[in-house]
């Protein structure tokens, strides 16, 4: 439950400023999100249920006095085994001046990527709409899906934020 430092270490690579990304796994897929959106990482604790909420919204927890909704991305994308173990991790995100928790299978590491390394993703449709994908990165044998987490979380799909037209 360490708090990851939010200060990026700016490095130049091929004259391009690299940014740091947090990578996590959902099932067998590996995702990367901008680390500046991450507030902290903590273990999973059973949240308080919210009646009649979508299944992927697990409920709300008390994060030092703030009521924070918890979303299980595995349920949302239908990935991996939905089980909660002592190793299940909640990434607390700070998005659009809101605090949101995201349940993932595990957090891998923090990597630096330059914009040049991120390749455009092929267009395909599915539960994970490509509009939330900034691109793909191959790193050794791994493929990372670089995600626009802010856009994803504020989208109408997530039902997190009351939409203006409702």
């Amino acid at each position: 439950m360490e708090i990851i430092s939010q200060a990026p270490n700016p490095m130049t690579d091929e004259e391009q400023v690299s940014s740091e990304y947090l990578t996590f796994t959902l099932g067998s897929e590996e995702y990367a999100i901008d680390i500046l959106k991450v507030q902290e990482i903590r273990g999973y604790e059973p949240p308080t249920l919210i009646a009649n909420a979508p299944v992927f919204i697990k409920g709300v927890i008390n994060l030092r006095g703030t009521i924070v909704p918890i979303i299980d991305l595995r349920i949302k994308f239908g990935l991996g085994n939905i089980e909660y173990t002592p190793f299940t991790v909640v990434v607390i995100l700070n998005i659009a001046r809101r605090v949101v928790g995201v349940v993932v299978d595990s957090v891998s590491d923090v990597i630096s990527l330059t914009p040049g390394q991120i390749r455009p993703a092929p267009d395909f449709s599915g539960t994970f709409d490509t509009k939330y994908i900034l691109g793909l990165v191959s790193l050794e044998q791994r493929m990372l899906i670089v995600t626009d987490i802010e856009r994803l979380m504020t989208s109408a799909d997530m039902e997190l934020i009351e939409q203006v037209v409702d």
Binding site: P47, T48, L49, I50, A51, N52, A53, G59, V60, I61, N62, R64, G65, T66, I67, V68, P69, R98, V99, V100, E159, L160, I161, E162
Partner: protein
């Protein structure tokens, strides 16, 4: 203008609103037949302060209207005019108008210009009523002039020539007020324009005007017009040298060397002011440097506000009374800030800029002012730079002056600070966290039971006490006495009873009862409505009251007190009372469910239904049947309740119960499956374990439960929330009878857990609104519990039944 005034606007708005409220309260207290001098002075000061700061901040409309108001007030407090009921009415109207203007400046609503003109005219008319017996009043005044050897009755009708100089303000430039002024002056005499600005609209100052005005009228009839259009205080009227006869007729005014004052004196730069103060035997204090050139001019009327007005002595004589006091009278009045000055001085010099001792005299009569037109523009510029300083003076001077007269009022001024509500709310939130943390610690320690060292247990007990005290103190910051609301009702009652031709006395008690600021703001409208209702429907006309053997003067009582963690506010009247049969027949007419078997309180509750009114005639006060339902809804949205007691012919009493605060809620925690929910205690009527025979079904869908002869719909919480109950049978759990929006329902839960005070947290901050949930809180174990929105849950149950059917 280097200083951005806008940053002070909010303070100005708040202060002005306070002054207005204060003025209104004093006006209402005022005994018209025998007004108290202290009260009149206090009213005057309130108006004066508004005018002063409005002028400083450039709200010309406010300043102008207040100025007229102030003139009339001044005449009254000097007993030049006898206070009449219609004046009080006019003052109150003017107060409303000023409040509108204030709101308009804050971007809320707009001001009806015709109303402004109407009220200004009315006030002017009232204050000009004395013109006929002017000299008599003048005589009276000089009698009362504290022994000053001032016995001059100026022949006002001698053909005077006034030298009028002014710099119009931006507003009056914009609406052509200067031309209007000239036209007006023309109607009173002959106007010669000596100099006028070349380009009128060149800049904010507009430019300098100088007019020679031949007239027979007294200067007070036009000084105020000049003051209106002039940039705050940038005007001067002096009698020209042609009208000399008065010269030595004032024994008071010795001839002294006359220091020519360049430009307006008013716009003197500080260094020269200091210089002059050195030469002045009156040791004018340097804090007032701005005004220090007064000795040169002779008479200064520091009225304390930024609109400083200098009148020449001669005019002073002519004016006699008028707003700007004659210095000559206040003989030997030392220069000081008025703290020690007696009331007489205070009323003249107006507190802080106490007139200079009249040692250096004004010989302006003989020494015409040097032509100031050459230097006036730079002078007025420098004058503007000093405006902030004046404001400072006015601000610092004001409380002192008022303290010397009204010690009770002033006491609150210094002993409080203005803090933004956000800061207080943040503090309250933090203390809420502390309370939760403390509860968590306590719970953990209790798990250790025997093993816990004694020191830990003692420390925790101490911590609990301290956090509770801290929480109470912090919550009390947001608490305000309910007099903030009550204070507006004397006015409401007065206006309405006049309009309805009823005689009503309002009695209030418990004004010091404290209530959360958020509630104070929201309770005002419902209470106003209840009072209007009592006046319109409750209290009978005097004739009816006499024939009923009652005192023709009706009484409305307004009471506030604490009762068991609630604030209770009672609005009672000794009027006709509610007519049970009339309500019943009206209800049937409207197609509402009403039977003769209903209890009185149920019948009376019908008046809270939308569209219900027993008034035979719709008046502009009430009777449209909108209102009581809104009252109830508003009160319920605050977590409160309304009850009615009434007896036909004796009166009606409406009782409003409110929680102490919006941030903390008395809740009952209930368990459903593995979840805990909080029910606001104010909705809970009772709870019971149902017997098998009590629960019946309707058309095999909706369940009802019989409680004390009533059939209540059953709301099964775990069904509507999609949870798993511990129990299979309804008889195993608990039914909590809830009352919301006048209807009752039984909520089925697994078990009652306990009763807590919970700190309300918003779900919407990071999530969204959830149907059936009004908020969340953090329990002692650190878990989140949702607070149920009782009326929404009842609605959900209804709609789910409909879907099922």
């Amino acid at each position: 203008m280097a200083i951005d005034m806008t940053q002070f606007y909010q303070v100005f708005f708040e202060e002005s609103a306070e002054h207005l409220a204060n003025m209104e309260a004093l006006l209402l207290e005022l005994d018209v037949s025998d007004p108290d001098a202290e009260q009149l002075n206090a009213i005057f000061r309130a108006a004066h302060s508004i005018k002063g700061s409005a002028g400083t901040f450039g709200f010309a409309d406010l300043a102008d209207t207040t100025h007229i108001l102030e003139n009339l007030l001044d005449k009254i407090r000097k007993q030049e005019l006898i206070l009449r009921e219609e004046m009080v009415d006019a003052f109150l109207e003017a107060g409303d108008l000023l409040r509108n203007m204030l709101e308009a400046h804050q971007g809320q609503g707009s001001v009806d210009e015709t109303l402004v003109v109407d009220i200004c005219n009315k006030l002017r008319q009232l204050s000009s009523n004395l013109d006929g017996n002017e000299s008599q009043i003048e005589a009276g005044r000089s009698d009362s002039a504290s022994g000053a050897s001032f016995d001059v009755q100026l022949p006002v009708n001698s053909n005077n020539i006034f030298d009028i100089q002014f710099v119009p303000n931006a507003a009056s430039l914009a609406n052509g007020a200067v031309e209007y002024l000239l036209a007006e002056l023309n109607s009173m005499g002959k106007v010669e324009v000596i100099s006028r600005p070349e380009k009128e609209n060149q800049e904010i100052g507009g430019g300098f005007w100088r007019i020679k005005f031949h007239t027979t009228v007294a200067p007070e009839s036009f000084t105020e017009q000049v003051d209106f259009i002039a940039d705050s205080g940038a005007w001067r009227i002096s009698n020209d040298q042609n009208s000399l006869p008065i010269d030595n007729s004032f024994g008071l005014f010795e001839q002294a060397e006359f220091e020519t004052d360049d430009s307006y004196g008013l716009f003197e730069t500080i260094p020269s002011a200091v210089q002059q103060s050195e030469s002045s035997p009156t040791q004018a204090d340097e804090g007032y440097g701005f005004f220090d050139d007064l000795p040169a001019i002779g008479i200064t009327l520091g009225d304390g506000a930024p609109s400083k007005d200098l009148l020449s002595e001669e005019q002073e004589e002519n004016v006699g009374y008028g707003f700007f006091n004659d210095i000559g009278e206040t003989e030997n009045c030392p220069i000081q800030s008025g703290v020690g000055s007696n009331l007489e001085d205070d009323s003249r010099g107006f507190g802080f800029f106490v007139p200079l001792e009249r040692t250096s005299d004004d010989n302006e009569i003989k020494n015409p002012m040097p032509d100031a037109s050459s230097s006036e523009l730079p002078a007025s510029d420098s004058g503007k730079e000093f405006v902030p300083e004046i404001t400072k003076l006015a601000n610092s001077g004001e409380p002192r002056a008022s303290r010397s007269v009204l010690s009770g009022v002033a006491a609150s001024g210094d002993s409080s600070i203005r803090v933004s509500v956000e800061k207080v709310d943040q503090l309250i939130n933090l203390v809420g966290e502390l309370v939760i943390t403390q509860a968590m610690l306590l719970q953990t320690a209790s798990l250790m039971s025997q093993e816990a060292p004694e020191g830990l247990a003692n420390g925790l007990a101490q911590l609990e006490r301290n956090t509770r005290d801290l929480q109470e103190s912090v919550m009390s910051i947001r608490m305000m006495p309910i007099s903030f609301v009550f204070s507006r009702f004397p006015r409401v009652v007065r206006d309405l009873s006049g309009k309805l031709g009823k005689q009503v006395e309002l009695k209030t008690s418990g004004e010091t009862t404290e209530l959360d600021k958020g509630l104070i703001e929201r309770i005002a409208d419902p209470l106003t409505h209840l009072i209007r209702n009592s006046l319109d429907h409750g209290i009978e006309s005097p004739a009816n009251r006499i024939s009923a053997g009652k005192n023709p003067v009706g009484t409305i009582t307004l009471k506030a007190y604490h009762q068991g963690g609630n604030i209770v506010i009672e609005v009672g009247d000794d009027g006709a009372g509610l007519h049970r049969n009339k309500i019943l027949s009206k209800a049937r007419e409207k197609g509402m469910q009403a039977s003769d078997q209903m209890t009185d309180s149920e019948v009376f509750n019908l008046i809270f239904e939308a569209g219900f009114s027993t008034a035979d005639q719709i008046t502009d006060v009430s009777g449209r049947g909108v209102g009581m339902d809104v009252v109830r809804r508003n009160i319920q949205s605050m977590g409160g309740r309304v009850e009615i007691d009434s007896m036909l012919g004796v009166g009606t009493r409406i009782t409003v119960r409110l929680p102490l605060t919006l941030a903390i809620l008395d809740g009952m925690s209930v368990a459903v499956g593995d979840q805990t929910y909080i029910l606001p205690l104010s909705y809970v009527v009772e709870s019971l374990q149902p017997e098998l025979g009590d629960i019946k079904t309707l058309s095999n869908q909706a369940r009802v439960i019989q409680v004390r002869g009533e059939y209540l719909p059953v709301v099964v919480l775990h069904e509507i929330f999609g949870l798993k109950s511990k129990w299979k049978m309804l008889t195993q759990g608990i039914m909590v009878v809830l009352e919301a929006d006048g209807t009752k329902a039984a909520l089925f839960v697994d078990a009652l857990v306990g009763q807590h005070q919970v700190v309300i947290k918003s779900l919407e901050a990071n999530y969204r609104r959830v149907a059936g949930v009004s908020g969340a809180t953090i329990m002692g174990d650190g878990h989140v519990a949702l607070i149920l929105d009782v009326s929404a849950v009842a609605e959900m149950a209804k709609s789910s039944i409909q879907i099922a059917a």
